[in-house]
Symmetry: C2
Subunit: 387 residues, 2 copies
């Protein structure tokens, strides 16, 4: 089935992307050729008479091989020049029109140094977020969300105070907090940032408050700047709502300069299909890093959602594997986690993660539950520090 | 199975959304309840002691009924106040976190007058685009794309001149045209806009050139303004890459004031699953209108993609069905269409559409093919105008 040897391609002018193609493997080579055209020139290749255009812009099938029943792996290459160093166009080439094919899943891509160079990526990354929170290097971070939506700024700030006092490092707004009448953005952010600052001044810790950037496209930067001015310690950004590139812009903005936690809302359809979409590690790991997230929140296995452990493993790996000069970022597994699962979760993700527990902390006394969580994390950390 | 009668809900404080739930129907009521929580407060409802918060923010199951084997229809309602009149938050409530459930598909929603009021929607709509193109009311519009990516601005402009001279109404950039070195945005838009203007001055027609807004988030408005200044007649916007709300902002911007064609790239995963995602009509019809598109391009049935005829019918219906005060918009079926299918396509969509044919026009003489297309559309229009 193979039309070329894998690993053969080392042209500086091209980068590769790998797709799993579902369906009879006898049809895979033709599908791969169609995909290479669809993701590049979208034009009958035989009608492109200009050799320069073909060489520059037409996608190529580098290899196709059977990897299972009704499954083939196709490796395509595309011209580096077709990206123009812009993230939206990278997404468009990798999975734009083919998002409308039910039989294709993007499972990897390998950007050249040249393509990676313009991406600044995470401003802080794992070590930067550790520094900002004062968490040091020897324990996982603790994260939670201010919720439920519907509370007033006063109630949310009271909650934020407790969470900060008792040791949560990253206190994010629920992503559903926008600018609703019952908790308007400015008042909410001001109250919560102040509450966290006061708690920090008492504990000597450096909890960060991350307000939600669930905002209209023409207001999102202003809200981020306002958040910074009001004392927010970071931002919660939803690339599914705002676009990956909006997150990249917020991350790169020196006037903002805050660490970013990415939230997975509205992105789930990209990973929900078995034979369609984009691999979890790319959606919640690689692309989040390219787009400047420092922490990536996603639903852990065994919670309210259905991500399998392998998908979570992949997200964690893509968050930290070498990627040009881009910093590693913190996976933040959440989505229905509980304190009694701390050991299991940390055994799975290791030290460099932010354990994200929301609603469960509110069963009984919030402060007491946070302290239980902190103790559980500390115990795990002490134990794992043993030789 | 039903927990309340459908149609019963007429509260001005709430709006409804309907979801198909896949799986044993005995589990559907519990799934519906989980969904109502997940899409609203994401918090154990029994822990919300404040009645105001529950009333204001907690989603409710209005009804659940079996609609097929392993399929149930759940109708939920949400508080109007939880939206805050912002499109990203509307998307987040309708399909944010539940995008990560493989078993749920959003099949409808019914916004209140109050929720619809702040959305300006399409600036031009069907009648506005007809006026701008001078196409009158008695024939479908003709649309095509400048392609393949890889051509120089000079070559693209030459193509645009032919297309305009021979009668294409809407000449859009391929969505893969961004700001690549071989066809930089300013030069490309300037050349193509000028070519179309010159052709218009000779024909007396009003072809519009719509450059691609496949652009970084912090440059997209500048490119739109530049396009306007350089004489573009509209914009091609990709909400899958840039976010629906970015399109809304471009549409509402009086300094730009251009009609918008929406392109479906990167949105396909929302519709690709059978039991997951969002219905085609919502993704490519309703949401496009809410977000200000005047024309919505999508892959027609029987082309390179796999949208079934029912899905295309739904897109056309959602593009034109009454939706508050929002104008009806033009469906633009494309994706591998050919001139010999004109009658069939127009019989399906009727007069108010923009037939979108790309690569096929380039087999043989481009100008001659455009004239064939125009003739075919004119013949269909004359025939369908008969009593």
């Amino acid at each position: 089935l193979s039309t070329a040897e894998e690993g053969q391609l080392r042209s500086p002018d091209r980068f590769t992307a790998s797709y799993v193609l579902e369906g009879p493997t006898s049809e895979a080579p033709a599908k791969a050729r169609a995909l290479a055209v669809e993701q590049s020139i979208e034009f009958p290749p035989e009608l492109v008479t200009d050799r320069t255009v073909r060489d520059r812009a037409l996608g190529r099938v580098e290899s196709v091989r059977e990897i299972g029943e009704h499954l083939a792996l196709a490796r395509l290459s595309f011209g580096v020049d077709t990206i123009g160093f812009e993230l939206p166009q990278l997404l468009q080439i990798l999975f734009g029109n083919c998002s409308m094919y039910p039989w294709v899943r993007l499972v990897g891509f390998d950007l050249s140094e040249e393509l990676l160079a313009p991406f600044r990526g995470p401003r802080y990354g794992v070590s930067g977020v550790r520094n900002l929170t004062g968490a040091g290097n020897n324990r996982p971070l603790l994260a939670t969300a201010l919720k439920p939506m519907g509370l007033t700024p006063t109630a949310l700030a009271r909650m934020a105070a407790t969470l900060a006092s008792d040791g949560i490092d990253l206190i994010k707004d629920d992503q559903s907090l926008a600018d609703q009448s019952f908790a308007q953005f400015r008042e909410r952010v001001k109250s919560c940032a102040q509450a966290v600052a006061e708690a920090n001044s008492q504990t000597g810790r450096q909890s960060l408050y991350l307000p939600s950037m669930n905002a209209p496209a023409d207001e999102i930067r202003d809200r981020a700047v306002m958040a910074k001015e009001l004392g927010a310690g970071g931002l919660l950004v939803c690339p599914g709502l705002s676009g990956y590139d909006t997150m990249r812009v917020l991350a790169a903005d020196d006037e903002i300069g805050l660490p970013i936690m990415a939230h997975p809302t509205f992105l789930g359809s990209l990973v929900a299909g078995r034979d369609h979409g984009i691999d979890h590690g790319i959606v919640f790991g690689t692309l989040m890093r390219l787009a400047g997230a420092d922490v990536t929140a996603f639903p852990n296995y065994g919670g309210r959602f259905s991500f399998p452990p392998e998908a979570c493993r992949q997200i964690a790996e893509c968050s930290t594997v070498p990627l040009g000069n881009l910093a590693a970022i913190l996976p933040a597994p959440g989505g229905g986690m509980t304190v009694d699962r701390v050991n299991e979760i940390l055994d799975f993700y290791g030290n460099d993660c932010a354990i994200l527990i929301g609603g469960a902390l509110h069963r009984g006394d919030l402060g007491a539950n946070v302290r239980l969580l902190r103790d559980a994390v500390d115990i795990w950390s002490d134990r794992s520090a043993q030789p």
